[in-house]
């Protein structure tokens, strides 16, 4: 970013001496850019837009997995979904997971970033340590923790001298998934926070020091306000990702729904309906419901951002 600004200083002077034909050429350079976006749009149309429209169409039919002999059933699927206790439970599990994961990850990522930022030696080592778990595939992280939580052969109960049935009791099963996820994904938000901390101009702290502010005041009055935007981003990204939880939960429960169905997430339920019960029409309907929920969250964030910008900071 800083390298570009130096070069820009010279250029406008040259642009001002441009002749009329040069101006035309300049304008022409930015015209008819359709070819730039065409390859992306082709892929986007095939694998995002079309499945969305197709899903919408299928949701009004009783299609099965073969896709043949589907007939229009109107709003039947949606009517069924609204009365489907398993769907609501699955939505509840995903929401419960999100509610636990988002605040924990935000706080944890912030604390780890503060720690890594303030230790003056071996910065690359701390970064690597805290980010490393994120580099594992979700399924590997899940397998690893499935085993750590295993009563008897697992390390967690052994180390803490407890006897908790982490994976087989419905009170703990989702909690085990949450703990696994915290360990596995906190590194990403940690890196966002670390980058934001490094972006706070040092002179702010120096000025505050001259004014006699102690470490606590500097954190409350400089660091935290400067991190407000990044916190918004971390929370938004985490909410959207957490609502879509699937991998860890199924792997830790050997592809089942967990004790008394307690780790069945929304994504898992749509796949069960689509690929196990072959009810593609119904699975599409609940997928569309899920899409609406995700879109509502994303739009709410955009609305919040806009309001804040208009209100002035």
């Amino acid at each position: 970013m800083t390298t570009t600004s130096a070069e820009t200083v010279i250029v406008p002077a040259r642009a001002r001496t441009a002749t009329e034909s040069a101006t035309a050429r300049r304008k022409q350079g930015f015209q008819h850019g359709g070819w730039f976006v065409a390859p992306f749009l082709a892929l986007f149309a095939l694998f995002v837009v079309w499945p969305l429209l197709r899903g919408l169409w299928l949701s009004f039919t009783d299609a099965n997995i073969s896709g043949e002999g589907a007939s229009f059933v109107g709003l039947d699927n949606y009517r069924e979904a609204l009365q489907d206790d398993v769907m609501w439970e699955a939505l509840g599990h995903s929401a419960y997971f999100t509610l636990l994961v988002v605040p924990c990850i935000t706080v944890l990522a912030f604390l780890l970033a503060m720690l890594a930022h303030h230790i003056e030696r071996g910065k690359w080592l701390w970064r690597l340590c805290f980010f490393a778990p994120f580099l594992l595939p979700s399924t590997v992280a899940a397998n690893l923790w499935q085993w750590l939580f295993n009563p008897g052969t697992g390390m967690i109960n052994h180390v803490f001298g407890i006897d908790t049935p982490w994976l087989t009791d419905k009170a703990y099963a989702m909690l085990a998934v949450v703990l696994t996820t915290l360990w596995w994904t906190v590194g990403f938000s940690f890196l966002l926070y670390l980058a934001a901390l490094q972006g706070i101009p040092g002179h702010l702290y120096e000025a505050a020091k001259l004014d006699g502010a102690n470490a606590w005041h500097r954190m409350v009055h400089i660091t935290l306000p400067m991190l407000r935007n990044i916190t918004g981003l971390v929370i938004a990204l985490q909410i959207l990702a957490s609502l879509q939880v699937f991998d860890q939960a199924v792997v830790m429960q050997d592809f089942g729904p967990g004790p008394e169905g307690s780790t069945r997430t929304f994504v898992q339920y749509t796949l069960e309906e689509g690929f196990t019960s072959y009810r593609v029409g119904y699975a599409s309907a609940i997928s569309i419901i899920f899409f609406v929920i995700i879109a509502a969250v994303a739009l709410a964030r955009m609305w919040l951002l806009r309001n804040r910008e208009e209100g002035g900071r």
Partner: protein
């Protein structure tokens, strides 16, 4: 390594009491944080019988490479490794190409319907295989791409998020740079490749690295689109095949480490770029 390189630039700070406390705290947290990985490593070096001993022990009583040689003799894992590599490299290449072009197109060029298309792409940010898995699968099925590399690769190649990140970046480049080149008679494509792309290198690196990580670790989509063990990727094969008949824990841990290792190596080498990339792009998203 990089710490040593920094010595001439930054003078060594003294070990003040607060630095000692912070470093000790950091070490303690890191040890706790990395202990699951150490546990996986030690387990992979135990025999299968010792791996399931009660109570568990951290270190193997008897160190053995049995599990490691078993997974290689078994053959599947090298297959999965190659599949993962093929899929991730293809996805990363295509994503970099199409999203750089599209990001630039949306940021800088004019064409009919641009505003509307940009809106559609933004809406696409909310669609993922997790959200629309079943309809996406039936679409890919219709194209006859179930159980193929194409079916695994192409649906991962339309990430609206990456286009958006690069779009934001290209918008920040001063227009005058390109205008000057146009006046000098350079064509649009030449301007794109000789001026715009080099400027965007940090952002492109970040997009590339994160796409590679996401694709290497992607479980859900390959899981949906194939159940042929010869086509599976690492996360997939480990989660389904290795978990299916009586888990061999030492082998499972060895396989898991093999899946994670390439990315950890990539990260060690490209740390600086990744962190700079996050600063560039992640922060652009706010």
């Amino acid at each position: 390594m990089s710490g040593a390189a920094q010595i001439p630039v930054r003078p060594r700070r003294a070990w003040t009491p607060s630095q000692i406390v912070l470093t000790l705290l950091g070490t303690a947290v890191s040890v706790v944080f990395l202990s699951p990985l150490a546990w996986a490593l030690f387990t992979s070096l135990k025999s299968e019988t010792e791996a399931v001993a009660v109570p568990p022990r951290w270190l193997p009583r008897e160190w053995t490479g049995q599990a490691w040689s078993a997974i290689f003799e078994n053959g599947n894992i090298t297959n999965w490794f190659v599949n993962s590599l093929v899929v991730s490299v293809c996805v990363t290449t295509v994503v970099l190409a199409v999203s750089a072009l599209a990001g630039y197109g949306f940021a800088r060029t004019e064409f009919r319907g641009k505003g509307a298309l940009m809106g559609v792409v933004m809406a696409g940010l909310m669609v993922s295989p997790a959200v629309l898995g079943v309809p996406l699968f039936t679409t890919v099925q219709q194209m006859g791409m179930v159980d193929t590399y194409w079916g695994m690769i192409l649906p991962q190649c339309a990430p609206a998020a990456m286009v958006y990140i690069l779009y934001k970046f290209f918008q920040g480049i001063p227009r005058e740079l390109e205008e000057a080149a146009f006046i000098d008679g350079a064509g649009r494509w030449r301007v794109f490749f000789t001026i715009v792309v080099p400027l965007a290198r940090p952002s492109l690196a970040a997009v590339g690295i994160f796409t590679f990580i996401a694709s290497w670790n992607n479980f859900l989509w390959p899981y949906m689109v194939t159940n042929n063990p010869d086509l599976m990727t690492m996360p997939n094969g480990i989660a389904t095949v290795m978990n299916s008949y009586g888990i061999q824990w030492a082998q499972l841990m060895a396989g898991g480490l093999m899946a994670g290792l390439p990315l950890i190596v990539v990260f060690v080498f490209f740390q600086r770029q990744i962190v700079a990339g996050v600063a560039h792009t992640g922060l652009a998203g706010q």
